[in-house]
């Protein structure tokens, strides 16, 4: 089930349109449908979970407390009827190719749609701000944004003088997808003192051959896949990989690290710990 978190991340590299933020004041009895787990997570983090009247399947799987809410379909095949049935005031979407069409149809029947791009870190922070405005939780939103910014700045400072290990973040095996350049995870990696080998490819989430991976020689492998068992066992098939030899193959929680959501400060912490060890990570939070 955790693999579904990757769906949120992986759909980001599909082409998308810019959305126009709205400046309306949010009424107190606002009804919101969310078709994206990162947006759902942000709303919950802002304490505004009660505005949700409908969510997608992946959000439901990730947030057990929302289990009672009506479902409106999957990420790529949401149901127009299900959305309309819960009479939302606004539907929040991340504009992937599939949802662009859905958005058009919603707007045709007069449902208000708010679009949130979440590829770059700055966009994620803006999403938190906009959602905060939408549900009248600007203060909470501000806190979260500040926490993330501070964590990032702190990490940059802490890790500036340290060694920057060659790193790869594995999103999927068979075939191998890694974190490339231009996405928020790449930015976090840069901030936490990792040299992201995947940035050699110009795209955010490229597919790579294992041969290339071995030749690139990563010193740290962060395996985010949901295959059972210790990822070190899998990667030990190629003992020449420096990360394998040094036993620096780590598994991190994808809901924290790959979700473009409200707790990217924890993602920063996770990454710092993975890359530089527990003691450095503790200095991060004890700032």
């Amino acid at each position: 089930m955790r693999g579904f978190a990757l769906l949120g991340a992986l759909c980001l590299w599909l082409a998308c349109e810019a959305g126009e933020p709205s400046r309306e004041e949010a009424p107190t009895s606002l009804r919101v449908v969310s078709i994206n787990p990162s947006l759902t997570a942000i709303l919950l983090a802002l304490g505004a979970g009660d505005v949700l009247v409908g969510i997608d399947e992946v959000s439901a799987a990730q947030q057990p407390e929302l289990a009672g809410l009506p479902r409106v379909g999957g990420l790529f095949n949401p149901s127009l009827e299900a959305v309309v049935a819960v009479a939302p005031d606004v539907v929040v979407v991340v504009p992937s190719v599939e949802q662009r069409d859905f958005r058009g149809r919603l707007e045709e029947i007069g449902v208000r749609v708010e679009s949130f791009e979440n590829i770059r870190l700055q966009q994620v922070l803006e999403n938190i701000a906009r959602l905060g405005e939408l549900v009248g939780r600007e203060a909470e939103a501000g806190q979260r944004i500040e926490a993330i910014r501070a964590a990032r700045a702190s990490a940059e400072r802490l890790t500036a003088g340290r060694s920057h290990p060659k790193t790869l973040v594995i999103l999927q095996r068979d075939p191998v997808f890694v974190v490339g350049s231009g996405g928020f995870i790449d930015e976090l990696l840069a901030a936490t003192g990792a040299r992201n080998l995947g940035a050699a490819f110009g795209e955010p989430y490229p597919q790579v051959a294992v041969e290339w991976l071995i030749a690139a020689g990563p010193e740290v492998l962060i395996d985010m896949t949901d295959e059972p068992g210790d990822p070190l066992v899998f990667w030990s098939r190629w003992p020449a990989i420096p990360a394998v030899a040094a036993r620096r193959v780590l598994h991190l929680d994808p809901e924290i690290v790959t979700l473009p959501g409200p707790y990217l400060d924890r993602a920063v912490e996770s990454l710092v710990e993975a890359l530089h060890g527990r003691s450095v990570a503790m200095r991060l939070s004890g700032r």
Binding site: L10, Q172, R173, D174, P175, Q207, V208, A209, V210, A215
Partner: protein, 338 residues
């Protein structure tokens, strides 16, 4: 009078063996990471280091598996074409591949629910192949003899059912599973592990031995079931053995690599054009040529797009598709001329 002599046999087989070796060498040397020939040669004598890992733990297994899968599919293709009396029959027609694909894809879609990783997929696919073979034989065999028409119809129905089930599973799947299902349907060796190789070898040898042993029957069956019977061939028994043998080979190949198309269709047909239809030569030739062909295709799949990998089925389709059209046209012209 020209006929198949030991001498001709040996020279053709030797030539194809050399071709296979050349293909293997090509596969060792080419790949997405830049290794020079010298690097490869040193890596061959080493056990450690990135180059050795690449050569021994990626390229060599891929070459071995591609060769085994290619051989399985080609030999199965030859035998199916003889059993169905149709030089353009494909081993996937018979439904065994549909069953194997369904088994594999079911495991791909639902495996994570059961806590099973990718390693469970080949056995599941093979189980699908076995079940389908049994069902196929029960349904299509009447009074012991399996008629070509019955086989064909039953196979088409099985495949249609399997396709429907696969479409359903694919629609309900998430992004990750969906991508993997797509790769499976196209045919892909990147996920295959060398530990399936022993099984593949066993099934290939079993099927291959049966086909070689019954090569003369394969020839005589071209005359028709009755004529073959009258020439002393126990047609029903031989058909059963050959069907089982080829189902094993197809099942094993699909379990490991998914539905790699065109190999089982093109290689037998091309070889027949060049070497003649005598199965005593065609069967072993198909094994070697099919192996070489798939090794080259897989090397291309690994290398063409740099860091990215194409599924090998995409390459066999690009090569095989136009070739198939050309052969089909030639075949139709021949039929018209008769």
């Amino acid at each position: 009078m020209k006929h198949l002599t030991a001498r001709r046999f040996t020279s053709v087989i030797a030539g194809l063996l050399l071709l296979l070796l050349a293909a293997g060498l090509l596969g060792l040397v080419l790949g997405p990471s830049a290794l020079s020939l010298a690097d490869v040669m040193t890596a061959l004598s080493q056990d450690e280091g990135a180059a050795a890992d690449i050569v021994w733990r990626i390229r060599v297994p891929r070459i071995a598996l591609a060769a085994l899968v290619g051989a399985c599919l080609s030999v199965a293709g030859v035998v199916f074409q003889a059993l169905l009396r149709n030089p353009l029959a494909d081993p996937f027609i018979l439904g065994v591949s549909g069953g194997a694909a369904l088994g594999g894809i079911a495991m791909l879609s639902l495996g994570s629910l059961l806590g099973l990783g990718y390693a469970a997929v080949p056995p599941a696919a093979f189980a699908g192949a076995v079940v389908t073979t049994v069902l196929l034989y029960l349904v299509a065999g009447t009074r012991g003899r399996v008629s070509a028409a019955n086989l064909l119809l039953t196979g088409v129905v099985f495949n249609a059912f399997a396709s429907a089930a696969i479409v359903f599973l694919a629609s309900a799947a998430g992004l990750t599973e969906g991508a993997r299902i797509f790769l499976w349907l196209v045919g892909n060796l990147s996920a295959a592990r060398l530990d399936v190789a022993p099984w593949l070898v066993v099934f290939l040898l079993t099927g291959f031995s049966a086909a070689v042993a019954l090569s003369r029957s394969l020839n005589v069956l071209a005359l028709g079931d009755e004529a073959a019977e009258q020439l002393g061939i126990p047609v029903a028994a031989h058909q059963r053995i050959l069907l089982l043998a080829t189902s094993l080979m197809v099942g094993a190949a699909v379990s490991v690599a998914g539905l790699v198309g065109f190999v089982g269709l093109i290689i037998p047909h091309l070889l027949r054009l060049v070497l003649g239809p005598d199965h005593r030569l065609l069967v072993p030739a198909a094994a070697l040529a099919g192996a070489a062909f798939l090794v080259v295709c897989d090397t291309a799949a690994r290398t063409l797009l740099g860091g990215r990998e194409l599924p090998v089925g995409a390459i066999t389709a690009i090569v095989g598709g136009p070739l198939f059209l050309a052969l089909l046209r030639r075949h139709q012209l021949q039929v018209l001329a008769r």
